[in-house]
């Protein structure tokens, strides 16, 4: 099995055969169409493939059903093994009058058989029926390319095929011998079992192939679902943003903001494992920076080293860092703000830095709350510290430090 799997999945070792070969023989595989079906579309599909009128095929099924129910079994088998033809649009209505007509024919035949006492073909017809069903299954699966693929896996299994053939022949001979003494049902049954066994042996690789095929189809479906999800995401975010950018083309600042926020969103989606944005410090710093970047239209570059879970003190520190980012984005006139957060075993530090115009710390009025209260005060209340380095023309750097309690 494993070998076969590999054979099929491995890319062709040499250049693939020219596609002409496959195109040359367009082969309609048996499928069950939704249009014009009465029960499951088996007869309709078979008729289309054979180029017959569906009525003929349906009559054949009905007749076979009357004889020991073989038609019913064959229909069920084909139903199971035949894929449904993809159908777009609403479910077509079934033609119930036709269905009733065929049902009536079948019942009439049954009644006739019962009345004349000739319906019971007896056990003799059973092997023919079973053999017929096996042949049907093989036939309906025998799209040439598919047959080739299956056979590539069972190349070395001629013995199995041969053995199956022998069993079928023995079974057939046995059946003919039993024909002479129809009264004794037992040998007939025995040989029927042999026939079935032989057919099963022949059919085993085909069934395995069928199973593989189903798996492949399943994988393909999963892939398509993933693709649909990507398409949906791109549509909701990227295309939407591109539309907004076109509409705001005159406003350079807004275009920049839109592009940055879309870039960030896409990066998160592509590279970041899904995580709770508020569970850890690094994720929270990134989120806060993103929010302030969006609010003020100034790029904020974030670099994080190490990480740990947020607690109330680190949350306070995060708020101080946010205030520092707001100050830098709003007042510094710098083109970009750098944020660096590092988690070490004993302490956490966050730096917020800009190369903007800077200011004179001593000249800041006492009542300005931004730096003193929201940054320095908040850090000190929570057992940390804040240091501001700035002077006019030199840019500003705010360093927040929080010692961690040792367990």
């Amino acid at each position: 099995m494993a070998d076969r799997h590999k054979l099929r999945d491995a890319p062709p070792p040499v250049a693939p055969p020219p596609p002409v070969e496959e195109e040359a023989a367009p082969y309609l595989r048996l499928t069950r169409p939704a249009e014009g079906r009465l029960v499951a579309g088996v007869a309709q599909g078979a008729a289309e493939q054979l180029g017959l009128d569906p009525v003929v095929v349906r009559l054949a099924f009905v007749l076979l059903t009357v004889v020991d129910g073989i038609g019913l079994v064959a229909y069920a088998a084909l139903w199971i093994f035949t894929p449904q033809r993809p159908h777009v649009g609403p479910e077509p209505q079934r033609d119930w009058s036709q269905f009733t007509a065929f049902g009536a024919i079948g019942l009439a035949l049954l009644a006739f058989g019962w009345l004349t006492g000739s319906a019971a073909g007896g056990v003799g017809l059973l092997p023919i029926g079973v053999g017929g069903i096996g042949a049907l299954i093989l036939w309906q699966q025998a799209a040439p390319d598919r047959r080739k693929r299956w056979m590539s896996g069972v190349r070395h299994n001629r013995i199995r095929t041969g053995l199956g053939m022998v069993l079928v022949i023995v079974g057939a001979i046995g059946f003919l011998a039993a024909e002479g003494e129809l009264a004794q049902a037992r040998p007939g049954l025995l040989f029927t079992a042999v026939v079935v066994g032989g057919l099963a042996m022949i059919a085993a690789p085909y069934l395995a192939g069928l199973w593989k095929e189903l798996q492949l189809e399943r994988r393909e479906r999963i892939r398509q679902e993933e693709r649909a999800e990507v398409a949906a995401h791109v549509h909701d975010s990227v295309l939407h943003t591109l539309t907004l950018i076109q509409r705001n083309a005159h406003d350079a600042r807004e275009v920049l903001r839109l592009a940055r926020s879309q870039e960030r969103e896409l990066r998160n989606w592509l590279y970041q494992p899904k995580q709770d944005a508020d569970a850890t410090l690094a994720a929270a710093v990134r989120r806060v920076a993103a929010e302030e970047e969006d609010a003020h239209g100034v790029p904020i570059e974030v670099v994080c080293v190490g990480d740990r879970a947020l607690d109330s003190r680190l949350t306070a520190m995060l708020q101080a860092a946010r205030q520092a980012m707001v100050n830098a984005a709003k007042y510094s006139e710098a083109a970009v703000v750098s944020v660096y957060a590092e988690v070490e075993p004993e302490e956490v530090t966050i730096f917020v830095r800009d190369r903007g115009k800077g200011f004179d710390l001593d000249a800041v009025p006492e009542d300005r709350m931004g730096i003193r209260q929201s940054i320095i005060g908040r850090m000190e209340r929570n057992g940390g510290s804040a240091r501001v380095r700035t002077s006019p023309g030199e840019g500003t750097e705010i360093m927040l430090t929080m010692k961690l309690e040792q367990p």
Binding site: N268, Y271, Q272, E301, V303, A335, V336, S338, Y340, R353
Partner: protein
Amino acid sequence: MSIKVLIVDDHRLFRSGVRAELGDSVEVVGEAEDVETAVAKIAELAPDVVLLDVHMPGGGGQEVLRRVLGSGSQVRFLALSVSDAAEDVIGVIRGGARGYVTKTISGKELTDAIRRVAEGDAVFSPRLAGFVLDAFASSEAPSIDPELDSLTQREREVLRLIARGYAYKEIAKELFISVKTVETHVSSVLRKLQLSNRHELSRWATARRLV
């Protein structure tokens, strides 16, 4: 004599953008859009610095590095990419690039970075510095070669300042050392990154598919 630069990137729009940003500060001798052309043009034009995209058809930047540096060429590479993924950044540096900057870099900073790489120094973006700090900090396994497998206190300080957004000149001022010394420290970190046998480096980068 101005520095000869080759731009390797599969996006034509981006190549012309970089060309325009660089202006006359360097001499752009050519462009290449895939691995094959890049290898051929490097051999033909002998640039001083190759601006190398990480993701490209035909194996990407790492394939170019492997083929060009594998043949004994002395040309210097500066990786320039939109990707921030740790495995891309670490991968291309371990492949032999002397620096990594992201495509959002300004024209002036890019010129500085190219000059620095041309002179044989290393160029780290804040993000790369952060990655390196993280990667070297996260190891607890015993190292095979202590000299290669850990950073000195000074190197760590320099990287930290780079991560904080400091330029080399500002770092020099901050640490009371010369710019040349800063460059020496960064080059030394680059050498450790490239030569360290620590499995953690690659494993860390792949495990951490973080920006």
